[in-house]
């Protein structure tokens, strides 16, 4: 899967699950946790989604606030290195 496609899917997932409507400025650097867009249950679902997308388990040590800051950090934590 191409990088743009992955980023697009991550973005779609966040838009679908966001607790508040995303503004037009929502981008790959928008802080998703800080804005309270996702809840703790969302994180579980999101991790399962990411695992589906990359076709394998993610390392629990990578599941932290740093990786889940925004789409850029998500991409580099779970997709850029394999």
């Amino acid at each position: 899967m191409q990088e743009l496609e992955v980023r697009g899917k991550l973005r779609d997932w966040i838009a679908k699950h966001a607790k508040k409507p995303l503004t037009a400025e929502f981008g790959d650097e928008t802080p998703v946790l800080e804005l309270g867009i996702l809840s703790s249950l969302d994180v579980v679902e999101f991790v399962l989604f990411i695992e589906d997308l990359r076709g394998g388990d993610v390392d629990a040590d990578d599941i932290g606030p740093d990786a889940f800051t925004n789409i850029n950090t998500l991409y580099s934590a779970f997709f850029a290195r394999s």
């Binding site: 946790l33 800080e34 309270g36 996702l38 809840s39 703790s40 249950l41 969302d42 994180v43 579980v44 679902e45 991790v47 399962l48 388990d57 993610v58 390392d59 629990a60 599941i63 932290g64 606030p65 889940f68």
Partner: protein, 535 residues
């Protein structure tokens, strides 16, 4: 110095003398020593006491959430000789207003979270409140908008006074907590100082708490289990580590980063962590104790948590707010416990020191050993009842025939244990429903659903609802994908016809109530919204 009668603040004040420079509270990047936290609390307390009306109920409201102000405010209430009343900025404002009005508390400390909701809560909340917003410099706009209340801000804060010395009645309210009532009207549970100090004493001794311990705080102040974390930690000079919003999302990282030694959460948190691969073997060697309370604890959670926290003792705590935080406990033993568990749920064990158990039938007569009945308890943790609500107090706090003292009816079903055996939780009395006239324990169906589907959490709901109970059962499984028809066939083969689920649904994301427990009402609501599917 004259020895004072024990109250909920005593432990903190003693730790303030013994360990003034040790951390009492860690929150985000801020660490407050006992001396610093006391100073914050003391300023709030003296400011309120200076401005408060002479005749107010001895209750101080805390409208704050996971902030230094929240914890300083709890202590400030206690320093004033008051009980504290927590209000939660994450609750619907209607509910908060109703709690505020019913509590009749006149002084409320508000942090930035609470301030954002203040206008909505105050609309229709009566007159004459004294509102202290220590994080806000300028409160003139608020004061102009709400002339019927008085506002104090950061500029009005007085200096800290010396530790409080006034005597406190051990039977007075230490905290007033609202729990959801079945009628929809929240009930205010009065918990007395002597109730909590008895509980705290039992806990610090059992867990040999020292000033080096670091306690989790997964619970909001409106959930009484939060009082365990605060007051057991502060009794012995330990540190309370309150997670930030993002730390709460990643509990595994929070345990490691904060060096938690005593973990306490609802079992659902552990289930979530398992799904996030956060319970790998050996992951949390620093945990000394892992405590769970608030819901039925699945055996499977103990296995995975025990492996992840190899140096930790695992305990299941049980108790309603009315019996002060927790009143029975059970220590998990990997060899013995699976055999003592029933329906895949860990036993709730034995009564706390001084607490006594009665297992009764509908007439509150004790059932025979081995029989199932409602759990009643009494002892030093028995709270005085519901605030200004003698009717509901009398219904729940009863004197069983032939007994000379008041017991609290928990509404929970247990088996009366043989000597030496642990108590086993079998579900709510009101989870026992009539289906086509048969008495059905939903917990039994849930246990079989869990086993046959291989999931940790399953819920059975009586549906569709009828005047006498329900016509059938719908099962919910906590998983994204499963062959529901195959599972249903296996479940059916193990249950009598009237207990057969007519349908099994998958739930990726459980609806949770404000305290993080599975919200059965919300599940039932999904059934009433959807058109009934056939089968």
């Amino acid at each position: 110095m004259q020895p004072q009668s024990r109250s909920l603040r005593s432990g903190f004040l003693r730790s303030l003398e013994r360990f003034p420079e040790r951390p009492a509270l860690q929150l985000a990047n801020e660490i407050l020593s006992y001396r610093q936290l006391f100073a914050r609390a003391s300023r709030l307390a003296s400011t309120l006491s200076r401005h408060a009306a002479a005749a107010e109920p001895a209750l101080t409201g805390v409208f704050a959430h996971r902030s230094v102000t929240a914890y300083a405010a709890v202590l400030a209430g206690l320093l004033r000789g008051h009980g504290y009343v927590p209000f939660n900025p994450n609750f619907p404002t209607d509910r908060t207003r109703s709690m505020l009005v019913r509590s009749d508390c006149r002084s409320v400390i508000v942090d930035a979270h609470g301030a954002r909701q203040l206008a909505e809560v105050l609309a229709g909340a009566g007159n004459g409140l004294l509102l202290l917003l220590p994080e806000q410099d300028d409160v003139t706009a608020l004061a102009a908008h709400w002339p019927q209340h008085r506002f104090l801000g950061a500029r009005d804060l007085l200096d800290a006074g010396p530790p409080a010395r006034a005597e406190i009645d051990p039977g007075g309210i230490a905290y007033l907590l609202f729990t959801s009532g079945s009628t929809g009207q929240p009930k205010g549970v009065m918990v007395a100082h002597r109730n909590v100090t008895h509980f705290v004493d039992a806990m610090v001794e059992r867990y040999a708490v020292t000033e080096h311990d670091r306690f989790s705080q997964t619970f909001d102040l409106t959930f009484d289990l939060s009082a365990f974390d605060m007051f057991v930690a502060w009794e012995r000079g330990a540190c309370l580590c309150c997670p930030t919003q993002s730390q709460k999302l990643f509990p595994g990282r929070y345990i490691a980063d904060c060096g938690i030694t005593i973990w306490f959460s609802v079992p659902s948190t552990a289930v979530l962590m398992g799904r996030l691969h956060m319970l790998k073997p050996g992951k949390y060697p620093g945990l000394r104790y892992s405590l769970f309370c608030g819901e039925a604890l699945p055996v499977e959670v103990m296995r995975t948590w025990g492996a992840a926290a190899p140096n930790s003792i695992l305990e299941n705590l049980y108790g309603p707010t009315e019996l002060t935080i927790a009143c029975t406990l059970y220590r998990w033993d990997p060899a013995r416990s699976p055999g003592e568990s029933e329906q895949g749920v860990v036993p709730i064990g034995e009564a706390y020191p001084g607490m006594r158990i009665l297992v009764t039938d509908e007439r509150q007569e004790e059932v025979a050993i081995g029989e199932v009945g409602e759990l009643l308890m009494t002892g030093p943790q028995l709270t005085p009842g519901y605030y200004r609500d003698p009717g509901r107090t009398a219904a729940a706090f009863v004197t069983p025939p032939g007994h000379g003292e008041v017991y609290y009816r928990t509404g929970d079903r247990v088996r009366r244990p043989r000597p030496g055996q642990p108590l086993v939780y079998l579900g709510r009395v009101d989870n026992q429903i009539k289906i086509q006239g048969y008495r059905v324990e939903l917990g039994e169906i849930e246990a079989i659903l869990r086993q046959e589907a291989g999931v940790e959490v399953a819920v059975a709901i009586g549906w569709p609802v009828t005047a006498s109970g329900a016509d059938g059962i719908v099962g919910f499984l906590g998983t994204e994908a499963a062959d529901t028809e195959a599972i249903r066939r296996r479940v059916i083969s193990r249950l009598p016809p009237y207990m057969h689920p007519s349908e099994i649904r998958l739930v990726g994301e459980w609806p949770l109530n404000a305290n993080g427990k599975i919200d059965r009402k919300a599940l039932r609501a999904t059934l009433s919204v959807d058109n009934r599917t056939q089968r």
